[in-house]
Symmetry: C2
Subunit: 212 residues, 2 copies
DNA sequence: GTCTATATCTCGATAGAC
DNA sequence: GTCTATCGAGATATAGAC
């Protein structure tokens, strides 16, 4: 569990509380819309403590965003377990990735917010990660290409395919309020809906990639 | 082109300029993050004029959001043309819906912002539309069900399927800054990438729904 | 480290000249 | 209708006692 890439591993309890509260508030209200008072309330501390531990709002945001970004990039690798067939690999990935997002919807919202705002901070992080060699979905693209070469699936553009898998695993969380109104059961039983969705996504994509 | 459901049809040039500018800024910064000064700058007018034409920030937002929401709900029906086979219907829908979003990415961003923020205003609109009978994707769900009953596609949950189609058509716009960095060609030639994507999505989903 | 009080600034909104 | 100047609320940030 101790993770050297985790900046929050060196955090005190108070810092963790602030960090978690900030993530929630930034994710809902956005970088500029978020109020320091709301963060203080959510962390159950005084507003002055925010400035004691993190210099100012911009610093706090960058800390939260940077950490969330790294977790999101790592999530691809963590969701992609070794499996004997592509079929099983896909199933495990969809399960793992959906569970990752479900376990921290605020993190997902923060990433989407940054994309909507133009993604300049995000672009810097991504380009740096790319130069370090470990581009996030590279590992996924390789898996698709290998399956394609082994005739386990039909020939497809692996980049487009990865984007489609990620889209379907993420978007229903992005649009959760809409889905809860429109879908017949999602509003009453979100957890059950997510389970059904994992099964549906596996079927749709696996059939969509099957050799003809 | 004159559309009675279009509140902006009665707008003067100045009002249109404000409305368009407000949409862009609200879409990027969110309801609370948006600054009246930014909107005035984008509309190339004085800040005081905003309050002259639209009473206050909340009024302006509701005007912009309401109009955008109606356009978005109508877009499903507009993208779904009559066609002899489900295969063609799917192709035309993907083309039409992607083009709709491409023609006004700010509108899409505004919808997503509202979802991320909790979607209370959005929920009201949706529930009202639902009670009026014309729930937006109902028409799409029906199409899938009919195709399934006619054995044109395998048996699937039509609600899940519609959500998957919409996810894949929308999400790459949501995450555009990320996609432009990660995808090998999207950054240099976005238009070309969108064309490729329409083809990929049709193939993936059509194969994914084919009878086994 | 924690809290209160307060300084400083930004933003939405208005008053009033033209 | 348009613009400048400004008010007042509310937000960030800091000073300083404990």
């Amino acid at each position: 569990m101790s993770n050297s890439a985790d900046p929050s591993s060196a955090y005190s309890d108070t810092e963790r509380a602030i960090f978690d509260a900030a993530l929630q508030v930034f994710a809902r209200e956005g970088r500029h819309g978020a109020r320091m008072q709301s963060i203080a309330d959510a962390a159950d501390i005084n507003k002055a403590m925010l400035h004691y531990y993190f210099r100012d709002k911009a610093t706090l945001y960058e800390e939260v965003f940077g950490y969330t970004m790294r977790r999101f990039m790592a999530s691809f690798g963590e969701s992609l377990k070794e499996a004997p067939t592509f079929k099983e690999t896909l199933r495990v990935f969809i399960d793992g990735y959906v569970e990752f997002v479900r376990s921290d919807e605020a993190a997902m919202r923060l990433m989407v917010q940054e994309n909507l705002a133009g993604g300049h901070l995000l672009g810097d992080h991504l380009r740096r990660a790319k130069k370090r060699g470990g581009a996030p979905p590279k590992i996924l693209v390789d898996t698709i290409e290998a399956a394609s070469a082994a005739d386990e699936i039909r020939p497809v553009d692996p980049h487009q395919t990865v984007l489609s898998v990620v889209s379907t695993c993420l978007f229903f969380f992005v649009a959760r309020p809409t889905v809860e109104v429109m879908h017949p059961t999602a509003g009453d039983d979100w957890e059950g809906f997510v389970e059904d969705r994992k099964e549906h996504l596996f079927e749709l994509i696996y059939c969509g990639l099957a050799p003809r």
